[in-house]
């Protein structure tokens, strides 16, 4: 029977001497979902992905990929996974086609070459070029094709759009969505939040080797963190507003304009505003990027202190 989860980690730890790269990562990725893995550079995204493929061995914890233990059964795991490394390096002596054919050989010739050509054409990749003559972006395209070409059950993509121009980025995101549409699970790391917001159904945020949040992308965006911009007919003393719990002033302009960040329900703010001469009131939802930064702000402050 097919395992219901594409990927699980429980208490996953990885240390390099005294440096703890992962401090008990817990993740569950459902089959058939696109899961975004967010975090700044050095937070443990790549280390987690490399543990999933048995490229590095965890110091502790449990890892299951498609129901299999990657340490006990690495070949079975890798046969069903497509991987795009964060730092993609290819053998310079190959042509693009040669590199793809060699990688396909390692999979026992599983890829359909018409599909490979179709993928290459969609992201404008010339198969005849020598790898050593390719730009970083074009090498990344080779990485995208090799990860998708055998139609894997699970895609592990480490910063898949890195180095690509915006048009190709959009095509790659479409390819990811199409892979999901035919049943693949996609786990991809990124620090470009807009792309995660665009395609991922759920996201996990990792900070200093720990998962700090796993949530539905939409619910994270809908989270009660909002920005409120109030304009007053005349200068006012905004102290009663800024004293409200969960309200932080972001910008203030000679007493007639106030930009606030509101955490939690808007009820108390609106009731308090009723006593003010309000001429305009706007609220906007923050982007995933702002939510993400909100997770990091306290730590940065603590580090500075």
């Amino acid at each position: 029977m097919e395992h219901p989860l594409a990927l699980t980690t429980q208490g996953l730890t990885k240390s390099y001497g005294s440096i703890m790269a992962l401090r008990g990562v817990n993740l569950e990725v459902q089959r058939g979902e696109i899961f975004g893995f967010l975090g700044p550079n050095g937070s443990g995204k790549t280390t987690t992905i490399r543990c999933l493929l048995d490229l590095i061995r965890p110091s502790g914890g449990v890892v299951r990929v498609l129901g299999l233990d990657p340490q006990k059964d690495p070949l079975a795991v890798r046969a069903r996974v497509g991987y795009l490394p964060g730092e993609l390096r290819l053998d310079d002596n190959f042509t693009v086609e040669g590199a793809l054919r060699f990688l396909n050989q390692l999979r026992g010739g599983k890829a359909d070459w018409r599909f490979v050509r179709e993928l290459a054409a969609r992201i404008d990749l010339d198969l005849k070029m020598l790898v050593k003559n390719l730009s970083k972006g074009n090498k990344q395209k080779v990485g995208v094709v090799q990860a998708l070409m055998h139609r894997p059950e699970l895609l592990l993509l480490d910063e898949p759009t890195s180095g690509l121009d915006p048009l190709v980025q959009q095509t790659v995101l479409r390819l990811i969505a199409e892979a999901r549409a035919v049943g693949a699970t996609v786990f991809f790391s990124s620090h470009i939040l807009s792309e995660v917001q665009e395609v991922a159904e759920r996201v996990a945020i990792i900070r200093q080797g720990q998962i700090v949040e796993v949530a539905n992308t939409q619910s994270l965006l809908n989270r009660a963190l909002r920005r409120a911009h109030v304009r007053f007919r005349q200068p006012v003393d905004s102290a009663p507003l800024t004293a409200l719990p969960g309200v932080t002033v972001l910008a203030r302009d000679d007493g007639t304009s106030l930009l606030m960040q509101v955490e939690g329900e808007m009820d108390s703010l609106i009731k308090t505003l009723a006593a003010f001469p309000v001429s305009d009131f706007e609220t906007e939802r923050p982007s995933l990027e702002e939510i993400f930064l909100a997770y990091y702000a306290p730590t940065r402050g603590a580090e500075r202190n």
Binding site: Y16, G17, S18, A21, T46, T47, R50, L53, L55, I56, R57, P74, L75, A76, R78, A79, V81, Y83, P85, G86, E87, L88, R89, L90, D91, N93, F102, L103, Q105, L106, R107, G108, G143, Q146
Partner: protein
């Protein structure tokens, strides 16, 4: 394992062709001098006698150089362990570590290829490359012997190459083993190159200095026969070299199976003093 082997052999085609052709031509070229040398035996003997023994120690038994075996021993096989040893050390240290450092190993091992298959596929390709180079050099000597009418058979010429192969495999395997433990391929190549040179000097100088004889027993090049193997191959020595090479290879494989595959800057092994500097930074200690 087969695609890995094929790919690795394809990547060493240049080395095989370059080294093989150069050594083959060198062998032919050297044999063309044998007749001239034999004609001038007396004057050359006087010249050699004037050289300091420390210098002559590095060429082996020069008194025998007026026989075909002795001539090839001095003019060709005496320096082959160093010339090809450098190739073996560079190729051995880079067999896996070069790709690891360049980052291509990460992608390879994300495919359904076991570490064992990768290790032995590459190892077999290394052996094939060495056989190709030595085969071309042997062929050059065989052709040279025919062309210049030197009394050496193809079989007798094969024997010193077997002894040389044992040496090269040992140093290649040693470099490979070091590359599995030390932080960089360059360091592994440097250390094994140093071992090669040390072995060469100890073995050569032990011929004129009795104090070094004990130390030379631990030197791998002590068991390299050079041109002497043309008349009789010491199978025990060859077997000994191959067994040590095999032990190094198995230890390297054992380590490769268990270690993390590194990417740039991740999980690198560090020197003790670098670790101490980190400790200083973390604990707020400042170096004096």
């Amino acid at each position: 394992m087969w695609p890995i082997f094929q790919n690795a052999v394809a990547r060493s085609r240049g080395a095989m062709l370059g080294w093989g052709l150069a050594l083959g031509l060198l062998g032919m070229f050297m044999l063309s001098f044998f007749e001239i040398l034999a004609d001038q035996k007396e004057s050359l003997e006087r010249l050699l006698a004037s050289y300091p023994p420390e210098m002559m120690a590095f060429f082996g038994d020069t008194t025998a150089m007026f026989t075909p075996e002795g001539f090839l021993g001095v003019e060709f096989f005496s320096f082959m362990p160093i010339v090809l040893g450098i190739y073996a050390v560079l190729a051995g240290s880079g067999l896996l570590a070069a790709d690891e450092e360049s980052g291509t190993l990460d992608l390879l091992l994300a495919h359904p290829v076991s570490r064992t298959a990768l290790f032995f596929g590459r190892g077999l390709a290394f052996l094939t490359t060495l056989l190709g180079i030595l085969g071309a050099a042997w062929l050059g000597l065989v052709i040279g012997a025919r062309v210049y009418d030197v009394d050496l058979t193809a079989t007798s010429l094969l024997r010193p190459f077997l002894s040389l192969l044992g040496e090269l495999l040992l140093f290649g395997a040693f470099a490979l083993l070091l590359s599995m433990f030390v932080p960089s391929r360059r360091l592994a190549a440097m250390l094994s190159g140093l071992a090669l040179m040390t072995s060469y000097f100890i073995t050569s100088l032990a011929r004129i200095n009795e104090d070094l004889e004990q130390a030379a027993k631990f030197s791998p090049l002590n068991y390299y026969q050079s041109g002497d193997a043309i008349t009789q191959l010491n199978l025990e020595w060859l077997l000994g070299l191959l067994v040590v090479a095999l032990v190094f290879t198995l230890l390297a494989w054992w380590r490769f199976e268990r270690r993390d595959i590194r990417v740039a800057g991740e999980g690198s092994w560090r020197w003790p003093w670098q670790q101490f500097r980190t400790y200083e930074r973390k604990s707020g200690l400042q170096p004096r």
